[in-house]
């Protein structure tokens, strides 16, 4: 006989934990919950995603800032690096975070049982959990699919033999690579590329396309690439990787660009071509769940094509793969399972960020998205040099953009490329979530001098010539 649960959660990451905790709260701890998965608790974010990458970003920034000549009269020295100590401290930080926010947390929930193994549906409400030779059958009234995502590895001849790293396993290296090739140029590539460059690697980012993302406005992309190039990162755009092979002293990539081939040697290869939803091996067909290689199809309430099964996080077919979104969706899915009042996920006010230096952050629509989707909009853009605090920081390659409805002035989007952008974007979240208009933005007094003032000044630029405004002009 299968073990029976009220809620069976496939996955053990942010969405899974959020759902388990919310379901426990809503049912006064009476829902019997199974949480099934493989690997360390906490999923991508804490183990191989946001937590280690931001640790590396901040460590690299610390080294870089200590060496950079920012203000006259301050003498900087080139810092030395003991990479083995740094990476060990990173792994230790990950371990602590996982213990504190996942392993120890789940011990508080007596109604949640953790299962190790891969689950696959055998009928719409039953899964078989396989862990080595052990097989266990578990049935549930409701299910939540929260199996996350995995790195995409392109089919490049010779790559498996040459050896490569992904964002899942780069945290296991003990030596800083002298020459690091990154295949792909998305968000992870930019963050890790800049960080390894700042730590002392010679980083080459190899991209087939010239853009970072279709959703980021071109001026912001160009400024980001310029920042990384100023740090020394090499961009090979319009370049594809034809093959890979081992060499005596490293790994050789055969590149193709402009009709010519070129061999380049590196010490390590990082594949960073995005992440794909973990849908394979689940036997979703047996549960009547519609999905594609883009992920599980859900309605606005996160319900799948089986009305007793929901999905949340990276496994969902949606535009963003974010830890905060996964956790939000896990909570909403649990709420919709147990509450008669259904909640929708509002992607429009979900912020996201790239932790390069300067940081990029965005919420709502961008000008590019508006054009593509035929949304009428007007926008204003200020440079970081137009902001007093930006000049104090000697910051450059920074931009602020506010996108608004041309008739009503309702704010539709905020885009920031600046120091602390990931912190500042929350102002944009509240503006959009509350349906605020440009007047609401400019009527709010901001602290002077702050980088965040850039959002307000950009709002003011809809009404005034900012070059004729004095400091703190209201």
């Amino acid at each position: 006989m299968p073990e029976e649960y009220d809620l069976v959660i496939l996955g053990r990451g942010a969405a899974a934990f959020s759902a388990a905790i919310k379901a426990t709260e809503l049912t006064s701890g009476q829902a019997k919950i199974a949480m099934i998965g493989v690997g360390p608790l906490g999923g991508t974010c804490v183990n191989v995603g946001c937590v280690p990458s931001k640790y590396l970003v901040e460590a690299a920034k610390s080294k870089f800032e200590g060496e950079r000549q920012t203000y006259p009269g301050i003498i900087r020295n080139r810092g030395s690096l003991k990479f083995d100590l740094l990476i060990e401290s990173l792994r230790s930080a990950v371990e602590s975070e996982r213990m504190e926010k996942y392993e120890n947390v789940i011990k508080n929930y007596q109604n949640v049982r953790i299962f190790d193994g891969k689950a696959a549906f055998t009928d719409p409400y039953t899964v078989e959990v396989i862990n080595g030779k052990d097989r266990q059958t578990i049935s549930g009234f409701n299910f939540l699919l929260a199996t996350g995502s995995s790195p995409v590895v392109p089919n490049i001849p010779g790559l498996p033999d040459a050896g490569y790293l992904t964002s899942n396993d780069i945290w296991g290296i003990d030596d800083l690579p002298d020459r690091l090739a990154i295949i792909g140029g998305g968000f992870i590539a930019l963050e890790l590329g800049q960080s390894f460059q700042r730590l002392g690697s010679k980083v080459t980012i190899i991209k087939e396309h010239n853009s970072i993302s279709k959703t980021i406005d071109p001026e912001f992309q160009q400024a980001m690439i310029k920042s990384l190039e100023e740090d020394g990162v090499e961009f090979l755009t319009g370049t594809s990787v034809r093959s890979a092979k081992k060499s005596v002293s490293g790994k050789i990539l055969t590149l193709w660009a402009g009709g010519k081939t070129l061999d380049r040697e590196f010490d390590q290869i990082l594949v960073s071509r995005g992440r794909k939803p973990n849908v394979s091996g689940l036997n979703l067909e047996k549960a009547g769940i519609e999905y594609s290689e883009r992920g599980v199809k859900v309605d606005p309430y996160l319900m799948t094509s089986n009305d007793r099964i929901y999905a949340a996080g990276d496994v969902v077919d949606q535009a963003y793969q974010l830890e905060t979104l996964a956790a939000r969706e896990g909570s909403i899915a649990a709420s919709n399972i147990y509450n008669p009042e259904k909640m929708k996920i509002e992607l429009n006010s979900v912020p996201w960020a790239i932790f390069t230096e300067p940081q990029f952050a965005s919420v709502g629509i961008t000008e590019s998205m508006a054009k593509k989707e035929g949304i009428k909009c007007t926008c204003r853009t200020l440079r970081i040099e137009d902001i007093p605090k930006g000049r104090i920081l000697n910051a450059h390659n920074g931009l602020f953009r506010v996108i608004a409805d041309p008739d009503s002035g309702k704010i539709l989007g905020v885009e920031i490329l600046a120091p602390y952008a990931a912190e500042m974007i929350m102002e944009g979240v509240h503006l959009i979530r509350n349906g605020a208009h440009l007047e609401d933005l400019v009527q709010a007094t901001h602290v002077f001098p702050t980088v965040a003032e850039g959002i307000k000044l950009t709002g003011q630029s809809f009404f005034r010539d900012m070059s004729k405004m004095s400091c703190c002009m209201e």
Partner: protein, 77 residues
């Protein structure tokens, strides 16, 4: 008039008072032959589908708003 036999899982009940509150909530919303079991958290009752639907009972005051009882329809016959 068509009768439906409904089985509902009720989360949040901890005592006999809870059983009484849930039972009365269901009865006042049109359910009859109401039987609520504390240990299993299951409620069984009959409704006349000319007057109400099983899902509508999930929105009665006993299960919605700030109520800490959550109902979930498990079976309708």
């Amino acid at each position: 008039m068509a009768e439906k036999k409904v089985s509902m899982k009720v989360f949040g009940m901890t005592c006999d008072d809870c059983v009484r509150t849930v039972s009365e909530g269901l009865r006042s919303s049109g359910a009859r032959d109401v039987s609520v079991d504390l240990s299993s958290g299951m409620a069984h009752f009959i409704i006349d589908d000319a007057h109400t639907e099983p899902e509508k009972l999930l929105t009665i005051p006993a299960f919605s708003g700030n109520s800490h009882y959550k109902g979930q329809i498990r079976k309708v016959e």
